[in-house]
């Protein structure tokens, strides 16, 4: 690991630089997307149209050298349009149904505006995400490795959207919010981009080297105190806990696993052999914000999942053993 980590760190740094040349002013978003991919998770990007979500995914597929496909979700999209359909074909043995794979059969699937499709179609994709295989007419078809879904959705307040159910949201490792860029970033975009001209993105690595990175991420050391911190953080989201005021449903154990995997990925991204409390704190909003369901009272008061997570991060210490009253903790 001592030799692999510097190499991985260097190649990931290169990948990060490449993506930053595609998407200006979204360094944090790029870091989280890379973290999510290294953690083998599916990502949900939420933001208004035109903020570069699709551009980021396309640039990522090119940089990673992975096969990427895009599905534009619309209300009339059918499950078969995603998973693929059996087609009646003339063969030497006679007429028979032959499975025609849909766009989901790719390493990187961009599910654009996923909340515009009907729940039935959404669930078809989400089942593929969970099982990593597609079953049509009783026949299972494995999806390629690696398989990532990067879904984008418009804010649910917009018209013509079907919000994803909580159980399906839970299958996304991260929910990332794509925020509007600053004026300086806009100026940079205006100077370096033209409408209709896609930026040239060089391939930084191939599928094998990316698979090696995924393997390296799994081998990152998770210290017991960090695991304890993750457990306490997730447990603190449960209703009734002191810092979970306004929470109707807390995070599931899958959230704890997501935090652990994300912390390891963040460690690889920074070239460290171990996960840390800082990694957990950095990815906690992305992991927990779509897993916390607030009650109506909290919503009326303006409380958001992000505020709850921020409160948890501030109040759950890495060391849960209290100090005597004669001492006080001091940040150095």
């Amino acid at each position: 690991m001592s030799q692999e980590l510097p190499q991985a760190h260097a190649s990931l740094h290169q990948l990060r630089t490449t993506l930053q040349s595609v998407l200006f002013g979204q360094e944090q978003l790029i870091d989280l997307v890379l973290t999510g991919l290294l953690a083998r998770g599916h990502l949900l990007l939420e933001g208004l149209p035109g903020l570069g979500k699709t551009e980021l995914v396309k640039g990522l597929s090119k940089a990673l050298g992975l096969e990427a496909k895009r599905i534009q979700f619309t209300p009339d999209l059918l499950p078969g349009d995603i998973t693929g359909n059996p087609m009646l074909q003339e063969t030497p043995q006679g007429r028979r149904f032959v499975f025609q794979p849909g766009p989901v059969f790719a390493n990187l699937v961009l599910a654009d505006e996923i909340n515009r499709a009907s729940p039935k179609t959404q669930s078809a994709l989400l089942e593929a995400m969970q099982e990593r295989r597609v079953t049509v007419m009783g026949e299972s078809h494995a999806l390629p490795e690696p398989f990532f879904v990067l879904a984008t959705q418009n804010p649910i307040e917009l018209e013509g959207t079907y919000p994803l159910p909580e159980a399906q949201l839970d299958r996304f490792l991260f929910k990332l919010e794509v925020r509007a860029t600053t004026a300086e970033t806009l100026e940079k975009i205006v100077l370096n981009r033209e409408i209709g001209v896609e930026p040239v993105v060089p391939a930084v690595m191939n599928a094998e080297s990316f698979a090696a990175l995924l393997q390296l991420t799994r081998s990152i050391f998770m210290p017991q105190p960090v695991a304890s911190f993750i457990a306490r953080l997730v447990h603190a989201t449960q209703p009734g806990e002191p810092h979970a005021t306004g929470v109707k449903h807390g995070a599931s154990p899958r959230a704890a696993l997501a935090l652990a995997a994300g912390a390891k990925a963040k460690a690889v991204l920074e070239g460290r052999p171990n996960a840390s409390y800082e990694d957990v704190r950095a990815i906690a909003p992305a992991v927990l914000r779509h897993r916390l369901i607030l009650d109506y009272g909290a919503k009326i008061e303006g409380l958001t999942p992000d505020l709850v997570v921020q409160r948890l991060i501030e109040n759950i210490p890495a060391q849960d053993k209290p100090l005597p009253t004669t001492l006080a903790a001091a940040k150095v």
Binding site: F221, Y277, A318, L327, A328, A330, V332
Partner: protein, 439 residues
Amino acid sequence: MNQEEIRQQWERTIKRLARWVNLGWWLERWLPVLMFVCIVGGLTWFALRTLARPEVAWMRATIAGLVVIAMVIAWIAARRRFESTSAARVRLEDAWQLRSRLSAASAGVGEWPSFPEQQPALPITWQWQRPVSVLGFCIAILCLGAWMPVPARQADKAHVIEKPSALKQVEQWVEELRKEEAVNPQNLAEVEEKMEELLRRPNEQWYEHASLEAADHLRDQTGKDLQELGAQLEQTQGSLSTLAELGSHLSEEAKNGLSKQLENQLKGLRSGAMQTSGDLAEQLKNMDPKACNGMSKEQMQKLAERLKQNAEALRKALANAPQFSFKECKSCNKPGEGEGDKPGKGGANRGRADAELTVKEKETNLNTQATDKLASMIDPERVTPGDLIGLQDARPTTKENFTGPQSGGSLQSTGDGGAAVEKATLVPAERAVLKRFFK
């Protein structure tokens, strides 16, 4: 600096942090106990000084010992919450933002991070207000207990319980008697032993009813014994003097009677609860009471003189007890009391009793005004309803001339059932008014 040196440096820092945290836990447990010890110790110290008890000399050592014991107890109680090095490591790496590299390195993953050249402060700050205020309070209360002025009246007043007055009186008698050598020292030792037995009881019980009663009894008994001794000494001396002076002039019968009396008195001297001291006691012991008649006049006078000296010594010793009169020896008068024409006390139902045929400075007290005391042990002045004073067998007295039931009066204005009955309850004036009305 190699990895081992870096590891040692980190371990030292981690242990230092753990020690500070553990000191905090120990202080948290110790301060309340210390406060309790100091409050109790300070108040006790002050109280002992106020009461002028000798234990005050031990207070410093006692309080110091209790503080040390409190330290040990606090350490035992706080040990459960002591911070381990692994916990301190987590606290340190989180505060110094070391990204869990200390935990990973201690688990053998990765290298120890380089130790900063300028070591940052430990991630704890002391809250000195509470420990300092508690320690200040403790010192203040101990100082108050040790040096706060005690009222002079209370300080000078030693906490001494006086002996009961009866015992003090007996003690004084014994001292005087020993000084005058009036009584056999062995008898005095017995009295002292009884006194010591009473005084061996706790001081607080000296003034209980039972103790006081026992002391009074000892005093009364001792006084009675001394009184008897004195009376016997004087009477014996008087009899001897009479016999020596008038022996040749008395009739044989009177002489024999006087000799008999002298014999009884000598027996009484030898068998009394209190006896004479020194050579006189030896002489009386070796002397045959029946042989008194055969003593020469000089011998009798010499013995009488010695008895007189002893009686004088006894009187001198008991000069502070005027209630004792040696002439009131009742027991020595018992023989021959009221019998025939022998000397003694007379009585209505005992016939004639002449006065003693002895010549004394004062007249003989015949106790004609003496009254008998109640036999009961109950003090009649303190008797309460229900106390049994005495029992007596008795028969009910029956009326011999009983003639059966007799009528005890008669009814006036009897009437039949339902008939109106007129009751003549009017006074004469009212009757007169009625007569005038119906006339």
